[in-house]
Assembly symmetry: C2
Homo-oligomer: 368 residues x 2
């Protein structure tokens, strides 16, 4: 374990190859991650938080590279629904990411950044890499896999691929398959990057100039669908009132946005179709599994509308899995999972506490 580039990471031995779904391998593999709390002696209290497209491993502490605050402080921390006094919380930068885990900006064996030489990756590959990490951390079985949006897709993939290693799974504002309108948004972002002359066929790192204009469009693609409809409309009307054609740019985080990482990760998200590997029947993805599921949706989420969560719940029920479903009425859109949503927090707390009781984990005091 080492701190590379300002982040804590685990560099696997080059004999520990990551086998990708497409038949290729990645080695050596580095996974950057953060942990919070302590693993108990039974090793039964580990929670894996899977981050979304705009997230990173700094779920509950400031990003040590950018200084940005923790992205999920309402949910993960001492006394929070995922109580770090009680659980050992792991959050890893995804495979293909740009915050320390092997991705297009990583240095390949020839001393140059991978760039587009990194093999194509898929969500099952990201989850397999996370599985290598949890094993290395001494965790055989996760108490909980949890994520929202793309993070929720990873959590579902965990429950499907490693049912015996996931006691509980919380899927928030997600879908078992990327919808056409999400593919369309991401595709426009990818095209905008590739249309930017500074992208240089993916070789921008060697030239020292990032494709900022294309990257800015892609970043908008990644963020806009998280915003409530009323906010999208308000930003549009504000621009129009100023006789502008485009929204005011989001400046936050753009300096760290890596265009090639967006290409790889967004393609992995767009390719996600959990039922496809099971003859098109999503229920078969969860057959004979004992994982207990909590599925959470937000009424105003137009990125992953509640109907897509309902489809997951129907499949879980058809598979005989234990599943609860909560749709939160809110105007905050997809990003409700980041907002102050007392009903969501209460429902998630209830799910986590019930699962912990079933797992035999003692309830501790200190919830805020």
């Amino acid at each position: 374990m080492q701190a590379a580039g300002g982040v804590r990471s685990l560099a696997f031995d080059s004999k520990a190859k990551l086998h990708l779904a497409n038949g290729e391998t990645i080695a050596p593999l580095t996974i950057a991650f953060e942990t919070y709390g302590a693993l108990n002696s039974e090793r039964s209290n580990a929670v894996l938080v899977c981050h979304g497209l705009n997230g990173d491993q700094f779920v509950a502490s400031p990003n040590s590279v950018t200084g940005r605050p923790a992205w999920w402080p309402r949910i993960v921390g001492p006394g929070k629904p995922i109580d770090t006094n009680r659980f050992f919380v792991i959050c890893a930068n995804v495979l293909g990411g740009a915050m320390g885990t092997t991705g297009p900006t990583s240095i390949a064996s020839d001393g140059q950044p991978y760039g587009l030489r990194l093999p194509p990756i898929a969500i099952p590959d990201m989850v397999r890499a996370q599985c290598m990490l949890t094993e290395a951390l001494g965790v055989e079985t996760l108490f909980l896999a949890i994520g929202a949006g793309f993070g929720g897709m990873q959590a579902l993939q965990w429950a499907s691929a490693y049912p015996k290693r996931v006691f509980a799974c919380a899927t928030i504002a997600a879908a078992a398959r990327q919808s056409a309108h999400n593919i369309a948004l991401m595709e426009l972002g990818r095209q905008a990057i590739m249309a930017d002359p500074d992208w240089r066929q993916g070789g921008y790192l060697a030239h020292g100039v990032r494709p900022q204009k294309g990257g800015s469009v892609a970043r908008m693609a990644a963020r806009i669908a998280g915003q409530p409809a009323a906010d999208v409309r308000a930003r549009f009307n504000e621009a129009r009132a100023m006789e502008r054609f485009a929204f005011a740019a989001d400046s936050e985080g753009l300096e760290r946005f890596d265009a090639n990482s967006f290409l790889y990760v967004s393609r992995a998200i767009d390719a996600f179709d959990l039922a496809a590997d099971f003859g098109g029947a999503l229920a078969n993805a969860f057959k004979n599994a004992e994982t207990r599921h909590g599925v959470f949706a937000f009424s105003s989420d137009w990125r992953y509308p509640p109907d897509e969560s309902r489809a997951i719940v129907r499949a879980l029920m058809a598979a005989g899995a234990e599943a609860s479903f909560v749709e939160i009425k809110t105007d905050n859109g997809h990003d409700s999972y980041l907002s102050e949503e007392p009903e969501f927090e209460a429902a998630l707390t209830g799910f986590v506490d019930a699962a912990a009781a079933a797992r035999g984990l003692a309830l501790q005091g200190g919830r805020s």
Copy 2:
């Protein structure tokens, strides 16, 4: 009336100013249009077809500039649901368009293209310009205003703004307000154009090089939402199988795509919110109107889902208007209105024929 740049158009006297919603005026105004069939002696058989974002005035005949075939041959023509043996059909290039009507490529009074000096325009302005055209053609009252998508928004605006001048209104696969996911797609297209160095702050015409890369992304934004979800997914999977990051480009029509026109027209569409001028109550947009409405939606349309059509129908009913609603079950998505959809064609024919009978227009033979 003159043929300018290969298209038939009407150049209004510069005293006939077009008064825009924002208080500015445009003069002189030119409207490029096509007509089919003949106006009857009672002047009671005029149909205005409003074209969509990817359309033009060549609804039923080949485009005289590009040679592209008519875009709605299944619906408009001799013996078709809108029978040109029976009706006098008018279709005009929208204000801000790039096919002969005054828009950013038009020459302003200083002999240079307007470019971004064209005032901001809105759908009510486009409809007001169409109203000037129909008056100039001797048409006091339209028998029918019809359109799909953005064209349907124009038809609705006609019915709301000029209720005594529209006997019947057919709104197909449209909405009374642009949704957030459509704004997001269009916004990405606009940003991609403005990020292209060849756009030159809108001044590309003087430099002789169009912003093709940004324009190509914007054109994708305009077209992708018309495609059925299965097609979007298939295009994505095809690209992924080839280890590409982006879809194969649509080459059709790109040579005529005008980036500034996209900026103006897409902004007008995104700003459409018919209820907003009526205290937020859509029903008030149709108060005391005698126009009879036909509202048509396609089950697999993710650009303007059937629920948005239902909202129009509910408002029409609340306003006491005569309204029929048909949702067609189809996998062809938004662009179903262009596809072979016998159920849609039968429903539209039924609506048109019933309205024609109510208008006292004799039924003619010759339907195919």
